[in-house]
Amino acid sequence: MQSGTFTRRRFVVGVALPAVAFGVGLRPRLADARTVVAVVVAPRGPQPVAVTLAVNGTSHPLMIEPRVTLLDALRERLGLTGTKKGCDQGQCGACTVLVDGRRVNSCLTLAIACEGKHVTTIEGLAQNGALHPMQQAFIDADAFQCGYCTPGQICSAVGLLNEKRSLDEDSVREQMSGNICRCGAYPHIVAAVRAAGGAA
């Protein structure tokens, strides 16, 4: 993508900016309101409210409506577009991220419900410029074709290892069943997951 060219991403960000500026202007008043909430336990929202999300080790203050999903907050507010919106109803796994180390569907998670938790996306897996071993294993095993499902597959696979699941082939297939690959790269995905887990 060359600089100076008009891209879909740049268009979307340009359109979204006024909404962001509007949200920032509201923040001081709403932050005060939230302080009161902690005492009387009244609901926050439905208008945008201050929500702080910890994503990939960085704390991000946001102004978002309570109905914003974690997926939309990541993609549309934080620009972390590695996490994909596939079905948007918990069936395809393209939106898989790790919340406190556990793999979840970010499309069925409210961002506001993630306050106080640690979110890790595909962008947060590499450390000090080195790919996460699971990312490297996917490359080594040629475990993708179009790549759309890959960030979700990799986050799910990292979660699988965190959960200490069996790495025999049937188990890996079952444990990766929440991630659909329409290209059908499954045999190589299974190989990559097993290799990264030390089973092959």
Partner: protein, 329 residues
């Protein structure tokens, strides 16, 4: 999703009071049902009360030996719990065979028993549905009824309940613990879900402002000798066409006690009372299992496209019983 306010409850009593005081409030636990329903226009609460942080997420053994599953325990955590795996393998297996790993990491036990049907007509707001608005009709009757009920349907609703866990729990004689406006009450697990009858809008007998706090059961020889068999269109991440939870207490070749339940066949988890009655006191043999399955299926009333479920249920019951009772399938 329609806009809503959000509040995080700090304790079960506070959560219950918030719900009781909120005219169009709804609890949010794991979100896999609630957020989904809000997205497809089947739920539009004005306030979401997040109960995800309440301290009800543990499995524990109580003094006296009963096991208590906190309502906010995640499906995966219960499936992996060593106490549960020994005390009720049918239950842990039912959870491991449910949904996807991501959903099992999110979804809670309380939410699982409260989930709505996956009937395609219920989920499509362009179709009439008595479960959404009683009296407007049922699109499944005379429609694509392959997935629908063979037991307990009414002319108003022929959907099936989607839970695996709730089917397996019917083998444990469990108790549901509720916190409501009038304090704490209990209800037998088997009386919690209801059939559609004249009012399909209500899936359960839970009252207004009530919160599930926990489910308890007492492990026994039978719950330890139990299994869950799930038959579905694909190997993983699919709802049951038919499932069977079976638990047997066999002494010297004779069945002393039996619990048998079916999933995917009715609007509620289906306890197979007729089959159980045909098992107790009989030898643990294939002939006994087959006779019991056929006794249960006397009451089956298939729809146009799902007569196969009757055969499937018979074979699945026989196989599940053979797995726990021996006597060869």
């Amino acid at each position: 999703m329609r806009p809503f306010g959000y509040v995080r409850a700090r304790g079960a009593d506070e959560a219950q009071r918030l719900l009781a005081a909120t005219p169009h409030g709804a609890f949010l636990a794991g979100g896999t049902t609630q957020v989904d329903l809000m997205k497809i226009g089947l739920a539009a609460p004005t306030t979401i009360i997040d109960i995800g942080a309440l301290p009800l997420a543990h499995v524990e053994t109580l003094p006296g030996g009963a096991v208590r599953i906190g309502a906010l325990a995640k499906m995966n955590d219960v499936a992996d719990d060593p106490t549960m795996r020994a005390a009720a393998p049918a239950v842990t297996r039912s959870l491991a065979l449910s949904a996807s790993p991501q959903v099992r990491n999110m979804a809670t036990i309380g939410g699982n028993v409260m989930q709505r049907t996956r009937c395609v007509y219920f989920r499509d707001v362009s179709q009439v549905c008595n479960k959404r608005r009683n009296g407007e009709g049922c699109s499944a009757v005379g429609g694509d009824d392959r997935q629908m009920a063979i037991f307990g349907a009414s002319p108003r609703c022929i959907c099936v309940h989607p839970s695996d866990f709730a089917v397996a729990m019917l083998t444990t004689d469990a108790t549901i613990h509720l916190l409501g406006p009038h304090g704490r009450t209990t209800i037998p697990f088997g009386e919690f879900h209801r059939l559609p009858g004249e009012d399909p809008t209500r899936d359960t007998v839970i009252g207004p402002g009530e919160l599930i706090e926990a489910i308890t059961f007492t492990p026994s020889t039978l719950t330890r000798n139990a299994t869950y068999l799930k038959v579905r269109d694909r190997t993983s991440f699919a709802f049951a066409l038919v499932s069977v939870a079976a638990g047997l207490d066999v002494q010297h070749g004779t069945i002393r006690a039996a619990r048998l339940a079916l999933g995917g066949v009715a609007a509620r988890p289906w306890r197979a009372h007729a089959a159980e009655a045909a098992l107790v006191g009989k030898p643990a043999t294939r002939a006994t299992y087959l006779a019991a399955a056929e006794a249960e299926l006397q009451a089956a009333q298939p729809q146009r496209l799902n007569a196969f479920k009757t055969t499937l249920a018979r074979n699945a019951m026989v196989r599940a019983l053979a797995l726990v009772g021996g006597g060869a399938a």
